[in-house]
Symmetry: C2
Subunit: 350 residues, 2 copies
């Protein structure tokens, strides 16, 4: 453990899938932290997990464990986040929360460091929220283009990976794939539905299928995921009136969210300029030579930090509209990485 | 074999995946045909295949075999279609062609019987073309809404099944799924790419992945599939200036193409009216109660005739725009069924 003036970081929810990616990131990135404290539910307390090359013992999350924490990275379920974020903030920690609880709150900034780092400075409740993984798959690329041309509207269709639903999503896809592999399934009505045992977190089979429903429920036919991507995109870009239409679809991919984007701007666009903007944008990798097999796919984006952008085309009927396709790792930039970036920003606001 | 005044039907390409679906349809539907003649390459000649409960011997495709044919259903590769369609037409057959060769020709009608049956009456070259499977996944639903409200523009993102690439696509997905099932693949950069042997017809792995490239090449960054959906939609609807933006994405589904549709109309739309229109549209099944798990998926649409439509929402920022999601069997309505419907229309123009 380090000593001195370096800030103490607490990681809440260090034992899950995102927690594992997060500990990896803390080990790989420039080390700005003093103590790193791993906190989890009492049943995980006592386990030792590697961070920065050391085995660190997991402590049970309680008020005492939050004493002296400068920055608290929350990767907890919504109910636990709602309970513990105010406690950590009251003890003086800046809370970086990845749950859905605070993202829509007016007095909680929603931050993507490449886009609106400034917003992290004003945090009346001591809480900074990190967006949903689907928003994070597209926002860095969209934000860069918006800076250049002024966004006017978005139409988005997603291709969301099962790890966005946590381990239960991954386990469900893997089990269903084992059940359909080596069969002739997928050619008769309902044959996949009858063959797979248990839909897990999904309302339909996810193996050999796509499921146009992602989220916890619907409002006027829109799913919670669709409404979240819309609201978060508006908030991060500071455009509360931006027209955004989203269709969220789950696909049989383990990790890596993709989005087909139709973006209309206030100004005329060109593909060469779009390439320049995306190639220069922090956090974006341009991958766009489809004739030579160069385009983003989740299988290539998984395990990497940036948003991969490609298939850039100007709409054939509208010189102000651009089509493109983005992929990002929903556990890295889509969760762990963005929260670590916010934590670093808060710890060293430069 | 029947005799009398009933027309003689020839099926060219009766032995492939679409041919198999087609023979099933000819056996299930109201029988308007006299002789049904099965024609294929010389290596398939002599095989016996079931149609209408009888075993019919496959004949080698040559000029003689086309004598006396009234309607010829072509399900051949592009080069064979280009060669044989004029021959069959010269012998007096009406050619219903499912290849890409004639779809864009000004003097060849492109027909979807629910939408533009009238167009099949004027066929200067004796050829009627049937659209691409992706166009057919959406056009019946879109056409019905257009009739009511007047279409102004379309933004489409597809979720295309591998059987759209023929048996090679299906074989590739099945082989790759066997290679990744039971593994932890899909969590590290390139791990799926390294694990699968042979990409088949695809420029990237299709198991545990989505591939934002469908077609034979690109023009200004647009793939041939994307350009085809745009051109065919315009031609079928008789709207040569309709703004259409398409992103075509292949997904690991065996059969059943899906499309997320953003459609803008000349008039205000409402969801209840859209439900009425879609429920009443021939060839469409409305499936739209997402809170109760009712939405279209390819696993449910496969093996069925209609286009399944659901997830109907009015754009939150534009009372003239509708979002919805459609699924259709790319081998049935997307290929065999539409061509049989055209053949029936030509045989009994009513």
């Amino acid at each position: 453990m380090k000593t001195g003036g370096e800030p103490t970081l607490a990681v809440l929810g260090a034992t899950g899938a995102v927690g594992s990616v997060l500990r990896g990131l803390l080990s790989e990135r420039r080390d700005v932290w003093g103590e790193i404290r791993l906190l989890a539910s009492p049943r995980s307390a006592g386990r030792k997990l590697p961070v920065r090359g050391e085995e660190v013992e997991v402590l049970a999350l309680d008020e005492e464990a939050l004493e002296g924490v400068d920055v608290a990275l929350f990767h907890l379920p919504d109910d636990a986040a709602a309970q513990w974020a105010p406690v950590a903030a009251a003890k003086g920690a800046v809370v970086i929360d990845s749950s859905a609880v605070f993202r829509a709150e007016d007095d909680v900034p929603l931050v993507v460091p490449e886009i609106n780092a400034h917003a992290a400075r004003v945090r009346p409740r001591g809480i900074v929220a990190s967006p949903d993984c689907t928003t994070l798959a597209l926002i860095v690329a969209v934000g860069a283009l918006h800076s250049a041309w002024g966004l006017e509207s978005l139409v988005l269709s997603t291709y969301q990976a099962v790890s966005g639903s946590g381990r239960e999503g991954v386990d469900t896809l893997r089990r269903q794939l084992a059940e359909v592999a080596g069969t002739d399934l997928g050619t008769k009505p309902g044959d996949v539905r009858r063959a797979v045992t248990g839909a897990g977190p999904y309302p339909a089979p996810i193996a050999l299928n796509v499921v146009p429903f992602a989220g916890a429920g619907t409002t006027d036919g829109w799913t919670t995921d669709e409404m979240a991507v819309r609201a978060e995109t508006r908030k991060i870009l500071g455009m509360p009136q931006l027209p955004v239409s989203v269709t969220c679809v789950r696909v049989p991919v383990v990790t890596g969210h993709s989005v087909a984007v139709h973006a209309r701007f206030e100004n005329e666009v060109t593909v060469p300029q779009a390439h320049e903007i995306l190639a220069a944008a922090p956090g974006v990798v341009l991958c766009d030579a489809p004739g030579e097999g160069e385009f983003p796919t989740p299988a290539d984006a998984v395990g990497t930090d940036p948003t991969w952008a490609g298939r850039v085309r100007r709409a054939l009927d509208d010189p102000q509209a651009l089509e493109f396709f983005v992929c990002g790792d929903n556990l890295r930039k889509g969760a762990a990485l963005n929260s670590v970036q916010i934590a670093e920003l808060v710890a060293s606001p430069g």
